[in-house]
Symmetry: C2
Subunit: 394 residues, 2 copies
């Protein structure tokens, strides 16, 4: 009577959702302040004042129909010119408005890209640990997700393992740096090597292999870490960007896809993106927010809270005896669980009302994700509990 | 290298788009004021002041994270309660928040509904004339669009023709009243008969047949015409609503689906809708706009301009010798072309810089659409040109 697959996708609770709901229940029992919910990747830095000001200014300065009317499907041409210029100033690229396609956030941007590119039999490669929705999105457009095993020492790419995953069926490779859930930032060396491997494979197979660079966390990179702009290293790259994290606007659904001139057959790729956006019924990215991001182009993200929280939590976990890669970006740590079964470990952590997400959900068993986009004070109070939890394993 | 179908869908220009672009070119040559562009369904009534005020109030009263944060996928629960209450007050229904699923406008609402319901071999019925994107959306979820021939005397339903189109494969019937492009409003009698035919067919086939009521023009119904609330006549109805036309917010992408308790297996339908929204990557309807529509719930649409324009244009066309159903709602007239080939007719109209859309594009050859959501003064100045055009055919 309904599409069975849609029913499953709409009703099967994710682990994160289940943990979050457990937390809400516990909070009602023992009080909000006694729950240490590290499960959700919701930015906790307030939306910058300049964003609010931009909304107010636009509403007072512009005609309603110019603010709220349909835009053409790729987005307001002036907005796209401004954003392209801003990207060029920051990264030394040479884009113009025609290289951008505005979208309802990064989820739409990556799925539109998958749908635009996917032909029968195509494979899309993700590096573990990875954002679990990749599987759902890739499979929903008829593709197959191929997962490269993790390299836990630093969560860069295990190129030996990667080489075995690339086949003549590989349509694209998903890069997500700064990474959810590992918090790692891919080094320039990693991107260079990735580009070099793919260029060789393109030559070998005689067709393009794309990089889809999923960059919602681009602005959240800590001191000493820079996030290479992938199009400068590899021509066949689509950049998928979102303002969800950089300006704390996750509910507003605004972002874009960059399609470089240098991509194999720009016209066909851009055209297919327009078609994919159409059938996914993203008529246009929300029009007011198009104007807002143009006015705020180039304004910095306030990442101080994430820097402070990341340091504090990392040090606390190390002191408690956990193994963990240093925080480099995003707002996640991905430590090794203290027993091989990460589900059992996260279950045990619940005793202390520490709500953690098992690494298995990200394709990386034996680890767990800690989202530190929460109050610093909550993290401070959680540290003795992590110590108690670790003590159980001695 | 790309999905061929997506490339086609993204690059093949619609007739409306081609006409619009022709108009832009002509406007550059002969001046904006000499072009009579009746091609686009873009609301020209300004967004109400109370909508702007609601945005300003929300920004000043609420915490940014409460405004711009993710909402749950079906939308903010309080917002849904308020909207349900408002629908109940207006239409005597008994919905609560759990019956609503907020979406990025009506295009998303109908496509999510198609995708939620569509199983292999399913057919979806539309009544000609119909919104051309129905075909694209239905086919994109794997369904087959079956078109019922028009009943041009009043553009109600030709039930004889309809009866022949319903088969055991019929999953749903799309109702769009007030109608784009005919401007007709389905009478209570039409809805009653439709419900009665479908109830009999449901019994005969032993499975539900849904009505998907696409209602972006619900508020634009003229004096003497009321738009029946379809759930009151037929249980297996999904209502797809949008604020694009009622509050002139087409670019902001905000609307909802109503799923009545009485629908065959509420849990499965609502669950499948959630799954469809997920894979179409409508993470949540834009969060600020969720709050805005809650504050503006029940506020009236200003349809005075459309009433005035509709009357003026109708009388002008009748005086010029056209055959046309009286304007009842939306902001379209759908007169009979003065020669059987509506493309040739619209081409000839271009001589007078009258930009009209051939009925063939809406599944109804021999007619043409006139969108009158434009300046009244432009309509006034167009009337002598329609007379000249008609004179050519005498």
């Amino acid at each position: 009577m309904v599409a069975e697959k849609m029913y499953e996708l709409g009703t099967k609770k994710s682990t994160i959702r289940t943990i979050f709901e457990f937390g809400r229940k516990r909070a009602a029992e023992v009080g909000e302040e006694n729950i240490f919910d590290f499960s959700l990747g919701n930015p906790n830095v307030p939306t910058p004042e300049f964003v609010k000001q931009a909304v107010v200014d636009i509403l007072s300065e512009m005609e309603p129909s110019a603010i709220h009317g349909y835009t053409i499907a790729p987005g307001n041409p002036e907005v796209r010119e401004i954003l392209a210029k801003s990207i060029n100033e920051r990264f030394g690229t040479q884009f113009s408005g025609k290289n951008l396609f505005l979208t309802a956030g990064a989820a739409a941007a990556i799925t539109i890209s998958f749908k635009a590119l996917c032909e029968a039999g195509d494979e899309f490669i993700a590096f573990a640990p990875f954002f679990p929705e990749y599987r759902c999105f890739v499979e929903s457009v008829g593709g197959k997700l191929v997962v490269v095993p993790p390299q836990p020492k630093d969560f860069q790419i295990d190129f030996g393992a990667f080489g075995k995953c690339v086949t003549p069926h590989t349509k694209a490779v998903i890069v997500n740096s700064p990474n959810n859930p590992s918090g790692a930032v891919y080094s320039e060396e990693t991107i260079r090597e990735l580009a070099s491997v793919l260029q060789a494979k393109e030559k070998e197979y005689g067709h393009p292999i794309f990089i889809i660079s999923d960059e919602p966390y681009r602005e959240i990179a800590f001191e000493g870490y820079t996030v290479p702009y992938v199009t400068k290293y590899y021509a066949n790259t689509l950049v998928c960007y979102s303002y969800s994290k950089s300006f704390s606007l996750p509910g507003e659904r605004i972002g874009y896809i960059v399609v470089p001139d240098e991509i194999a057959d720009f016209g066909r790729v851009y055209g297919a993106i327009a078609g994919a956006a159409r059938v996914l019924t993203h008529v246009n990215a929300p029009s007011l927010w198009q104007l807002v991001i143009a006015r705020c182009a180039g304004r910095p993200s306030d990442i101080r809270t994430y820097v402070k929280n990341g340091r504090l939590l990392y040090q606390g976990l190390i002191d408690a005896g956990f193994e963990c890669v240093k925080p480099q970006g995003a707002f996640y740590l991905f430590p090794k669980a203290l027993e091989p079964d990460d589900y059992a470990f996260c279950e045990r952590a619940k005793k202390y009302d520490l709500l953690l997400v098992p690494g298995t959900d990200f394709g990386c068993p034996g680890y767990f994700r800690v989202a530190y986009c929460i109050k610093t004070e909550t993290i401070e109070r959680s540290l003795p509990l992590f110590k108690k939890l670790a003590a159980e394993y001695r």
